[in-house]
């Protein structure tokens, strides 16, 4: 199915959510195409599993649709709320079934053309994903939000309901662990940066 282009690109997420609650179908299209990629990407970074990430993304978006009539504009960013929901859903799933260990890291998602750079990028991303899977949940969440999603520490603090200092501490510890794990991985696989 071809999604409609985001025709309401100038409208904020929470205004679109109000339109959605008023029955505007265009708002449903816009929010779907605007937010699903971010939700899916975050869920994938948290779970390391594409199928799980898709389920989480669909569930998180479903919760967004349901909360729309009660959404209070200006109180929180829609994406902040979504990141929190995604993290909670992922944590629940991770508790039920711990994810695959480093050795069973997911295979590359798609077979790109045999361009060396693209393959290297995918190898790095996969290695990182495997190392992320070894981090404690909260460290992984903080590192992903800061260094992959590119959010600022105050927003991460709001999402994780922590102080900014606690976020900084989590990301610092997470990065140290990741750097060590990736160094080992690099030595094992023999690739160079």
């Amino acid at each position: 199915m071809d999604m409609a282009l985001d025709q309401m690109s100038d409208i904020s997420d929470d205004a679109l959510l109000v339109l959605f609650a008023n029955g505007d179908r265009g708002a449903a299209h816009s929010l779907t195409s605007r937010l699903t990629p971010r939700v899916l990407a975050h869920a994938y970074r948290m779970t390391g599993n594409r199928a799980e990430a898709e389920d989480v993304a669909q569930e998180a978006m479903l919760r967004l649709w349901k909360i729309a009539p009660d959404w209070r504009q200006g109180e929180a960013k829609v994406t902040t709320w979504l990141y929190r929901v995604v993290a909670n859903l992922c944590t629940d799933r991770l508790r039920r079934a711990r994810l695959a260990p480093l050795e069973a890291a997911p295979e590359p998602e798609d077979e790109r053309p045999s361009v060396v750079e693209a393959m290297q990028q995918q190898a790095r991303a996969d290695a990182l994903q495997a190392a992320l899977g070894e981090l404690p949940d909260r460290q992984r969440q903080a590192v992903v939000l800061r260094h992959i999603e590119g959010l600022a520490n105050p927003e991460i603090a709001e999402i994780m309901q922590l102080s900014v200092e606690a976020v900084e501490s989590l990301t610092a510890r997470g990065k140290r662990t990741l750097a060590t794990a990736l160094k080992h991985r690099q030595d094992e696989l023999g690739y160079t940066e």
Partner: protein, 124 residues
Amino acid sequence: MTQGNDDMSALDSHFAAARNTAPTPSSDLLARVLSDAEAVQAGQVQTRMASTPRGTPLAQLFRALGGWPAMGGLTTAAVAGLWIGISPPAALQEMTDGYLGPDTTVYLIDTSADVALGLIEEAS
């Protein structure tokens, strides 16, 4: 320290790779999300319509006129008009006597609060 910096620099290249290879939603996932959206939206609209009172045409007219507050004003005006019609004040009788003579009987019929229509019927 340099080794630590190198490790962090390598880590940054991994983060960049992760950003560049972010998974994109399949058309199937987008369709499922949109389908959920439309189902939830239809339910919410239906719920809102069901919770809006409709009632009989008379009840709708009552609401359209403004409900009980407006009805209070209308009733007061109607009762006042009826009372003036049945028992005209002496000042009114004197005024009509002055214009029409003492043998004229005056009937005031107030048909609504806003439009007062006076019908004067001359006594035979």
